[in-house]
């Protein structure tokens, strides 16, 4: 059974003045995939993502996300996606519960639903003791997990994660990816950018951006074979050098 494309980009370009941050990238993401959008810092990943989630207008090219056009239907896209920003943007001066209530409300969840989801989330992540504490007082790893769960509150079809595991220890990273897997099993498409090449191994397919262009796009297994190396890290090194 052919899987449908939930994200489709053709020649997507973003220029800032003379500088071409994203250079005519073409790719697609299938429903239910965990798609890794890799590249070094400054390669253009975040810029590309911002176009896909509808907060940045492309300079040229085209893209559809969840069946909506990024140029003309940005607001519709937003109804169907979730987003976790690089800065884990939750409000530091609101509690865990208050953040959930706020974002749930913004996405139009009913009061009853919000209550349910809050209970679920707190139990799932084991946050019972800290549910009334300010986010600002929690350790980074917990903030990440809460951020991710908040992004999924309204059960979006696709969730975009921008460098979600920056700055935490490997165990916490592992735990985080378990959350990602669970969401994926439930049918959510995951679009994740990262510069941790080992995380690439966890994805179904990956693309690697170098200087604004996509230089590789395939499953990790096939890429390793293609470049004749043992790890995604080495794949990247070969690409970056070459």
């Amino acid at each position: 059974m052919k899987k449908t494309n939930v994200i489709q980009a053709v020649g997507l370009t973003k220029m800032f003045g003379d500088f071409m941050a994203v250079n005519a990238i073409t790719f697609d993401v299938k429903k239910g995939e965990i798609f890794g959008f890799l590249g070094a810092n400054g390669a253009g990943k975040t810029t590309a993502m911002k176009m896909l989630i509808g907060i940045s207008t492309p300079t040229s090219g085209s893209a559809q996300v969840a069946g909506f056009d990024v140029f003309t239907q940005a607001e519709n896209i937003k109804k169907n996606i979730g987003y976790m920003s690089q800065k884990f943007a939750l409000y530091d001066d609101l509690t865990v519960k208050e953040n959930i209530t706020f974002f749930g409300g913004i996405y139009g969840l009913s009061k009853v639903r919000i209550k349910e989801k809050t209970k679920e989330l707190i139990e799932d992540l084991g946050l019972k003791e800290v549910s009334d504490q300010l986010i600002g007082s929690l350790p980074l790893g917990w903030k990440q997990k809460i951020s991710f769960s908040v992004a999924l509150l309204h059960e979006p079809k696709i969730v975009f994660l921008d460098e979600p595991t920056g700055g935490v220890d490997p165990i916490t990273r592992r735990q985080f990816w378990e959350l990602i897997y669970r969401a994926s099993h439930q049918g959510t498409t995951i679009f994740v950018t990262t510069h941790y090449m080992d995380e690439a191994e966890y994805c179904d397919r990956v693309s690697i951006m170098v200087n604004g262009k996509i230089e590789a796009l395939d499953t990790p297994k096939k890429l390793k074979k293609q470049f004749n190396v043992d790890s995604m890290n080495d794949v990247f090194l070969k690409l970056a050098r070459g």
Partner: protein
């Protein structure tokens, strides 16, 4: 609609949790209202007066006594020479020096010209003018006495005409400057707080990064903006209320007109200010910039609002500019309604203009806020 409610709820929580800002938003302005309304006065009082008496006659002594009796002047001392008097003035120890020349009494009695030298520190030109008026009044009144004394001897067949002028001061019989300033300072404080808070608010979310998260949600621009501004609108109205209570209790400012009218007008005025703050917020990247630009405009608007100096005193080009100054209208309305009891029809022109401003500034603010860049 419910979405707006969630934003309002979040904003309030954040405002009240910010323990550092709360006293600044509420206590500081009201403290300032009390202190500054006492300070802001152009009345000229306690004029430091000194004299040089070269004549040392009963006439000169009588004249000087008149100054001593006046409530406007503080007769500090006398100087034997002009040089010492000048020196004292240079040091800033006296404001006015009266110089009675030699033969003052003799000249007067012989009906020759009798002059009096007066030196006034005119750095504050306006105050100097007022001081001169007071001095002239005292001298004239003294002159009248002398004339009636001396003229009893000579005959005057033709009586001079005498126009009696009766000054009447309406709405503020005691010429209480506080009555005038308190409504104005209240305007100033409400404006500053609401403008700064609204200007910095969205920029702060930009600086922290949460604005991105908001922009990715399907929330409508207008919902977001109304939700963000409403708490500040409420704070503005709250400040007004506490301010009015203080004005009544501490300063005995009369509240002749309709409170309802005051609140109705204020609610629209605050909307104008919030729109301005938001507009500024959309074009700046850091809180510092937002604050600066807001401060820049506030200072200009306040200076040109007739709060401290009358608009009629400004040159024509400046008066035309004030037509675009919302603060000017608010100051006018507050004074008119509070002190004179003006009614809605009286302030209709200001009301309409402010309404237009509210629509324009908020419209611009909403239009210039981009969820997608």
């Amino acid at each position: 609609m419910k979405i707006i409610f969630y934003i309002i709820q979040k904003e309030f929580k954040q405002i009240f949790r910010n323990k550092g800002m709360l006293p600044i938003i509420f206590v500081l302005p009201l403290l300032q209202l009390v202190i500054l309304s006492n300070a802001a006065t152009f009345e000229v009082k306690n004029i430091r007066f000194a004299y040089i008496d070269n004549d040392y006659s009963s006439s000169s002594k009588a004249l000087i006594e008149k100054f001593e009796a006046s409530t406007y002047f503080n007769v500090i001392t006398y100087f034997p020479t002009e040089i010492q008097a000048s020196s004292a003035m240079l040091k800033g120890e006296v404001d006015v020096v009266l110089n009675v020349p030699l033969h003052f009494e003799r000249d007067l009695q012989n009906n020759k010209k009798a002059n009096l030298g007066i030196t006034i520190n005119a750095i504050d030109g306006a105050a100097a003018g007022v001081e001169n008026v007071y001095i002239t009044q005292i001298i004239k009144s003294y002159n009248k006495h002398i004339q009636s004394d001396l003229m009893q001897i000579s005959d005057s067949k033709i009586q001079p005409v005498n126009m009696v002028t009766i000054p009447l001061f309406w709405y503020n019989e005691t010429l209480n400057y506080k009555t005038f300033m308190v409504p104005g300072i209240l305007v100033l404080l409400v404006t500053m707080i609401t403008l700064f808070l609204s200007a910095m608010n969205i920029v702060r979310e930009k600086e922290i990064g949460t604005i991105e998260q908001i922009n990715v949600t399907p929330i409508k621009k207008s919902q977001f903006i109304i939700g963000k501004l409403f708490p500040f609108w409420l704070i503005g109205m709250g400040l007004l209320t506490i301010g009015l209570i203080l004005a009544r209790l501490i300063f005995d400012v009369p509240m002749v007109g309709s409170l309802l009218l005051m609140y109705a007008y204020t609610s629209i005025y605050i909307a104008v200010i919030l729109g301005m703050g938001l507009f500024i917020s959309n074009f700046t990247d850091t809180q510092q910039q937002a604050m600066f630009i807001a401060w820049f405009f506030v200072v200009i608007f306040i200076l040109m609002s007739g709060l401290f100096t009358p608009i009629e005193s400004m040159p024509d080009w400046a008066q035309t500019l004030t037509e675009f100054n919302p603060i000017k209208y608010y100051v006018e309305v507050m004074r008119m309604v509070m002190l004179k009891g003006s009614v809605f029809m009286d302030i209709l022109p200001q009301f309409i203009k402010t309404l237009v401003f509210a629509i324009v500034t908020n419209g611009l603010a909403i239009w210039s806020y981009k969820k997608t860049n």
